[in-house]
């Protein structure tokens, strides 16, 4: 029998899985693996500047390509730094395989240098995790890791690799088949249930589709669009579901939820049948549960049976992949008479359309509109905060466009690295990152990665000099106690500051100079007429990233907003 070193089998396994990109950060316990990767030409190893960002990069790569993102970090601090990234991927169902180095087996439990129990630390935030205990299991464990990560409801898998096993000789076999007795992702659709569900739709006067991220993950947007066109049933989406149907489609209403559109929140509250696919009904979507869709019978289709009836009671549960379910639905559909219902919805739209009030500084909505009309096929990635919510409100998503955002975890610092990962996976598509002055600083070091790989990502920083999302909550619900939200704050400022004034110190990071320090291009935009020239300059910079810092009104708000615990109809509109 042919024998291979653990590291060689590792690389062979990656190649058999079709991996061409690994996001890796070296260290003592993975040096053997890096040495093997050094000899391998078919796999590009990307060196980020922090392991949290490393995971977000693999995450952006995976979300935008549909492939499994592969991560490799060292033991101890390297592994510990991945935790936020893994949780972020888990909450948005992103397929990753994260390999961590580990101290040799005989040292585990000794509190050895750089020994942490990463499997224990990530147990609640990954789809599956295990530590390799025998060299002979290496091939099977890697095979299973990829299989678990990408099938069913996708998610991150963590595999801990003790150093001694990776240098041990052993079987050269990489298995072809997987058989995990405790893991059989559901396939097929229960047609009886499906027909019952659709029966409800045909009887409904005010039917509504609620589309979550599951439809995007299944890449089933075209099926959804066909279904909607044939049935004439209007659609609302969660943030993660946005783009499943073109946002300019006549039957698309908008996002629902905490910052959802007025018409969308009204439609959910008034509909008589809510037909939901691929959503877990998180609290940001439903707000007060007892008031959520309270006139409706609810159908819930999800690949994860545990997502069904977890947060809301449903009338017809169907466990199925969104794509398979939609394909089956197309066989039984018929045209519904929704003209009157659409009339009501259009009334709501006209009553309270989305839109930002003119304010001082550059208007974020105008920036996003510029992006809408300029970049046809593109990937927009956000960080977390007000700028994220504006993006989810104003970004148009039509065929060929994609939005990547940290929906489940809302992880600040996600934007820049995820955009880098998306660009690596889609070199021919424009990638635009929309970030805040707060979140940008959480993984700013990744500018170095983008520069090193000559990635022309356009990074738009909406600088309001505030952790704006929190400031907004304080303005509305905490008597304007602006506690720890001002990013311009300097020693000497009034600690009980009641809001911005002419005496405020300037924002204390010069993002233009910072861009230059990284050997990137930096542009500051303070007036509306500077928006287009700034983007034009950025588009000409094809050899590296460009930061465009937009100085926006410090007091801009995200509207509508539903206060936590209030019914969705309780929107503060301005």
């Amino acid at each position: 029998m042919k024998q291979l070193k653990g590291t060689s089998l590792f690389v062979k396994a990656l190649k058999e899985e079709g991996v061409d990109t690994v996001f890796g950060y070296p260290g003592g316990m993975v040096t053997d693996i890096f040495d093997e990767l050094y000899k391998e030409d078919g796999i590009e190893v990307i060196l980020p500047r922090h392991e949290q960002a490393l995971i977000h990069e693999a995450d952006g790569y995976a979300r935008s390509t549909g492939k499994v993102g592969v991560c490799l970090v060292t033991s101890g601090p390297g592994a510990a730094n991945t935790v936020t990234g893994i949780a972020t991927a888990y909450y948005d169902s992103v397929p990753l395989v994260c390999f961590s180095g580990q101290v040799p087996l005989h040292l585990i439990g000794n509190d050895a240098f750089q020994e942490v129990d990463i499997i224990g630390m990530t147990r609640g935030i990954c789809k599956f995790g295990m530590i390799l205990k025998n060299r002979e299991d290496l091939g099977r464990v890697i095979k299973e890791a990829f299989y678990i990560a990408r099938t069913g409801k996708p998610g991150p898998v963590v595999i801990d690799l003790p150093k001694n096993l990776m240098v041990e000789m052993g079987s050269a076999e990489y298995p072809k088949e997987v058989n995990i007795r405790g893991y059989k992702p559901s396939t097929g659709v229960h047609i009886g249930q499906l027909k019952k569900a659709m029966g409800l739709l045909w009887k409904a006067k005010k039917p509504l589709m609620l589309i979550g991220g599951g439809v995007n993950i299944a890449r089933a947007g075209a099926l959804l669009t066909q279904f909607v066109e044939e049935t004439k049933i209007p659609v609302v989406t969660t943030i993660m579901g946005k783009g499943a149907i073109d946002t300019d489609h006549p039957y698309y209403i908008g996002n629902l939820g905490m910052h959802g559109e007025y018409a969308a929140n009204m439609a959910v509250s008034e509909c008589d049948v809510l037909y939901s696919i691929g959503t877990r009904f998180s609290d940001r979507v439903t707000s007060k549960i007892s008031e959520f869709a309270k006139n409706a019978q609810i159908v819930h289709i999800d690949i994860d049976s545990a997502a069904i009836s977890k947060n809301i009671k449903v009338d017809i549960p169907i466990v199925a992949d969104a794509g398979e379910a939609l394909a089956a639905m197309l066989k039984y559909n018929k045209r519904c008479d929704t003209d009157e219902w659409m009339e009501i919805i259009r009334g709501w739209k006209a009553e309270h359309p989305l839109g930002m009030k003119p304010a001082r500084g550059v208007c974020p909505e105008t920036v996003i509109e510029y992006i809408n009309k300029t970049f046809k096929e593109s990937i927009v990635v956000t960080d977390v905060g007000q700028h994220q919510m504006w993006t989810t409100q104003y970004l148009e998503l039509t065929k060929g466009k994609q939005l990547l955002t940290s929906g489940g975890m809302g992880t600040m610092g996600y934007g820049l690295p995820a955009a880098i990962g998306a660009k690596l996976g889609n070199p021919d598509k424009p990638v635009i990152c929309i970030s805040g002055d707060g979140g940008m600083q959480m993984n700013i070091q990744e500018m170095a990665t983008a520069v090193a790989h000559e990635l022309p990502v356009i990074i738009c920083i909406m600088n309001n000099g505030y952790l704006g999302m929190v400031r907004q909550i304080q303005e509305l619900f905490y008597s304007r106690h602006y506690s720890s939200v001002c990013t311009c704050w300097r020693k000497g400022c009034d600690t009980k500051c009641g809001g911005p004034s002419s005496k405020c110190p300037p924002y204390s990071t010069d993002f233009v100079k910072l861009a230059e320090a990284y050997d990137a291009m930096g542009i500051r935009v303070e007036k509306e007429e500077e928006i287009a020239p700034a983007f034009e300059k950025a588009m000409q910079n094809t050899k590296g990233p460009t930061i465009i810092e937009f100085i926006i009104d410090r007091k801009d708000m995200v509207y509508p907003i539903v206060q936590g615990g209030k019914p969705l109809t309780d929107m503060i509109l301005e």
């Binding site: 499997i119 609640g124 789809k127 995790g129 205990k133 405790g182 049976s305 545990a306 009671k313």
Partner: protein, 163 residues
């Protein structure tokens, strides 16, 4: 809120107990008792779990367990005839002769065995449902000051004949 029983077949490797126990603590499920041991197949362990929950949470618990890669099978014992017992040890300090005789009588009434004793202490072993063990403990606690209780948690198996 109701006490319910489930049984799990799980992979027998390290970390699986932590995974299952961690699920209960992370999601704030009310775990009442959990036992685990290897089965006739050394690669498979079986757990018997008692939880106190409402109907909806119980459904969630089963689904969440099913979702774990390490969990091979979840069996809901709610409407299945089973045998279920718990091992209980009670050590009772009873230096007076009449007290010892009282303990022997109680043991007999409850089907508990006296497995060890000297002139000061009696050690009872009782293999019963956890409710019966509860009653035995309550009775002894009411009558004796100095007692020591160790309980093993319940184990259960489906019955052969329909009971």
């Amino acid at each position: 809120m109701k006490k319910r029983w489930i049984s799990l077949y799980v992979e027998n490797y390290s970390g699986v107990l932590a995974k299952v126990a961690g699920l209960f603590s992370a999601k704030a499920y009310n775990l009442d008792s959990l036992t685990v041991g290897a089965t006739e197949d050394p690669t498979v362990s079986r757990m018997t779990i008692g939880v106190i929950s409402d109907d909806a949470t119980f459904e969630q618990i089963k689904k969440q367990l099913n979702r774990c890669v390490e969990v091979i099978k979840v069996i809901d014992f709610t409407s299945i005839p089973i045998h279920r017992n718990e091992l209980l040890y009670i050590k009772v300090a009873c230096p007076a002769k009449e007290d010892r005789e009282e303990i022997f009588r109680i043991a007999q009434a409850f089907g508990a065995a006296v497995i060890d004793c000297d002139m000061e202490n009696v050690l009872l072993q009782c293999v019963q449902t956890e409710q019966r063990n509860d009653s035995l403990i309550a009775l002894i606690r009411d009558n004796f000051k100095d007692i020591e209780v160790v309980r093993g948690g319940s184990v259960a198996i489906e019955s052969i004949s329909m009971m």
